[in-house]
């Protein structure tokens, strides 16, 4: 990936992070920690990898995406809005009575949302169904899904892992947002799902470990997944919950809590500083 493209994607991710903060702030509820954690995966998918058309969200040959960790809807909505599926101005209606932006995503309300999720474990299983449909119809679309690491405690994830491998769904590429934290604390203290990579490998998946905030690494993993024949791919993304906002980073207290005005302002100021830094670099690269 050339330097300029990488900087543009990093800029996009920072813009998405700002929207996440403001969505959760305006709703006065929601899940900022996990949303900030998986933002770079979203950015790489929608702005570098996936074949989608915001003007035709139900296009039959599009790549599909299922947010298995449905509570990170703020990241999905911000990404879809930035991609042009619906107006960015609607993001601040998140979780309101008259809004289509539910606390957890609904495929029947949100343009570009391919599956209703929120109940953990079910999203990845529905993604298996989409990938199976692609195989039945001999279509070349790919199916992507993001899971939480705490979500792996759901038994259904492993039923889905079994069926995806059994039916050799190499058109399926999933990501674990491995930030190590869940609502009640560290995943290793609450109910240890480790070793995540070994478990998926044992279930017959192609497993790739990568830094979940390294856009080039994520893109490389997606390319490897496309080349893998006969196996679904799990990209185990080593992430930091709350990434990009200093006081939220690696703090499970920010799993499902909205910032107050002061905290919101500080978060936005930090992200604006990051944006200015990236823009300065972009200018430098363009000059050179």
């Amino acid at each position: 990936m050339d330097k300029l493209r990488l900087l543009e994607l990093q800029k996009q991710a920072t813009i998405i992070r700002k929207y996440i903060i403001d969505e959760v702030f305006s709703a006065n509820s929601g899940h900022p920690g996990g949303s900030l954690s998986c933002t770079d995966i979203f950015t790489t998918l929608y702005f570098e990898e996936m074949r989608v058309d915001p003007k035709n969200p139900k296009w039959a040959d599009r790549d599909r995406f299922v947010l298995s960790k449905g509570h990170c809807a703020p990241a999905l909505y911000a990404t879809l809005a930035c991609k042009g599926f619906f107006p960015e101005a609607d993001l601040n209606t998140f979780r309101r009575i008259d809004s289509y932006l539910e606390g957890h995503p609904s495929m029947n309300y949100v343009p570009g949302c391919d599956m209703s999720t929120g109940s953990l474990g079910q999203g990845i299983s529905t993604a298996v169904g989409m990938a199976l449909a692609g195989k039945i119809d001999k279509k070349d679309y790919r199916v992507y899904s993001i899971l939480g690491d705490g979500e792996l405690e759901e038994g259904l994830v492993w039923e889905a892992a079994m069926s995806a491998a059994h039916y050799k769904l190499d058109n399926l590429c999933a990501f674990v947002d491995y930030n190590g934290l869940q609502i009640d604390g560290k995943i290793t203290d609450v109910m240890n799902p480790e070793s995540i990579s070994d478990k998926f490998r044992a279930f017959g998946w192609n497993v790739i470990d990568t830094d979940g905030h390294d856009i080039e690494g994520l893109k490389a993993a997606m390319e490897l997944a496309k080349r893998m024949k006969g196996k679904p791919t799990m990209v185990v993304c080593h992430c930091h919950k709350g990434h990009g906002v200093s006081f939220m980073e690696d703090n499970y207290g920010w799993h499902g809590k909205a910032p107050n005005q002061e905290q919101r302002d500080q978060a936005i100021a930090e992200l604006d500083a990051k944006l200015a830094e990236i823009e300065a670099e972009i200018a430098k690269v363009k000059e050179a």
């Binding site: 599956m115 079910q122 169904g129 989409m130 199976l132 449909a133 039945i136 119809d137 079994m162 069926s163």
Partner: protein, 308 residues
């Protein structure tokens, strides 16, 4: 005419209508029992065994449906409606996806397998889900027509099917419409409102009642939801006493659905015959119906008691 189980009629119907390439059939290691193997023999490329993993089967069905498939997902009623209930609720009913859950081995007449496998709560559980259509068929022809109607209808459907071979109620010219009950015998003193295998038992009960001078109407309610409100109110007006008969727990099933309609629209006396808040047990189907009070004679006796 020989007896045919509704599960067998289901498998045959799938094979009969299966040329529609949108149809995909999923099973959970029970295809020989649910009879989806009948479809598999004709269309193996569209039949998928999901293993003993009902929750995954329901969500995979949902995912397939988002891609334009008409998905039939089959297992025993207990595992479909109760083990995978929340998957059905959140991944099928909430997004209103085109999945047909065809659940066999419902009710006591599963027989010797006993209580763990005798589902007596599925109608209540499935009826409580928004967007779900709930069907319970009584014979071969009705099942065949119900499967066709389910294919033609876009949305979630739960179809309750039985293991036991049953006599025919309906003829070849039978017209099935989702949500429309069918009067299968006229009468003026009481209406027996039945579903599934209890339609046959109620018809026999009506014969017994006729000998006692009681004219019993029998209505086959194959669609539990949406239920035929107009027909129920008409019967209540014309015959007074309503008696519901179901091979299901007394809470929340056909009886409950009928009472909801009548108490709001035409309050009248309703006697509910079904399993009285109990689990099943092992035994022959005939012995089980006798033990739980669901034979024609026992139905007739309860009607006479209710008339008194």
């Amino acid at each position: 005419m020989g007896k045919v189980a509704t599960r067998e009629a289901y498998g045959n119907a799938l094979a009969q209508y299966g040329s529609d390439e949108r149809i995909v059939v999923l099973d959970a290691d029970l295809s020989k029992s649910t009879k989806t193997d009948t479809f598999k023999k004709v269309y193996p490329e569209r039949h998928f065994n999901m293993g003993i993993a009902e929750a995954d089967m329901m969500c995979v069905a949902a995912g397939l449906a988002t891609c334009g498939k008409i998905v039939f997902a089959s297992t025993f009623a207990i595992f479909a409606s109760e083990r995978a209930c929340e998957q059905i609720r959140n991944s099928i009913c909430y997004p209103k996806l085109n999945v047909k859950i065809c659940a066999t081995h419902a009710g006591l007449t599963v027989g010797e397998d006993g209580a763990s496998h005798q589902c007596l709560e599925d109608l209540a559980v499935m009826r409580a889900l928004p967007n779900m259509t709930v069907i319970s068929t009584c014979d071969e022809i009705e099942t065949n027509r119900a499967i066709k109607a389910a294919i033609d209808y876009n949305g979630p459907v739960y179809i309750r099917l039985g293991r036991l071979g049953v006599e025919a109620v309906h003829g070849e010219d039978f017209k099935f419409e989702i949500g429309k009950g069918v009067q299968v015998r006229d009468g003026s003193d009481v209406t027996l409102v039945a579903t599934g295998l209890m339609v046959q038992e109620s018809l026999k009960a009506a014969d017994i009642l006729a000998e006692k001078g009681i004219s019993a109407r029998v209505v086959d309610i194959h669609t539990i939801k949406p239920i035929d409100k107009d027909l129920l109110v008409k019967c209540a007006k014309e015959t007074g006493l309503i008696v519901t008969v179901e091979e299901h727990n007394i809470a929340g099933g056909l009886g409950g659905a009928v009472c909801e309609v009548l108490s709001e629209n035409y309050p009248c006396k309703v006697k509910m015959i079904g399993v009285q808040e109990k689990f099943g047990k092992s035994g022959t189907p005939a012995a089980l119906l006798e033990k739980y009070g669901l034979t024609a004679q026992q139905i007739a006796d309860k009607v006479i008691a209710a008339k008194a």
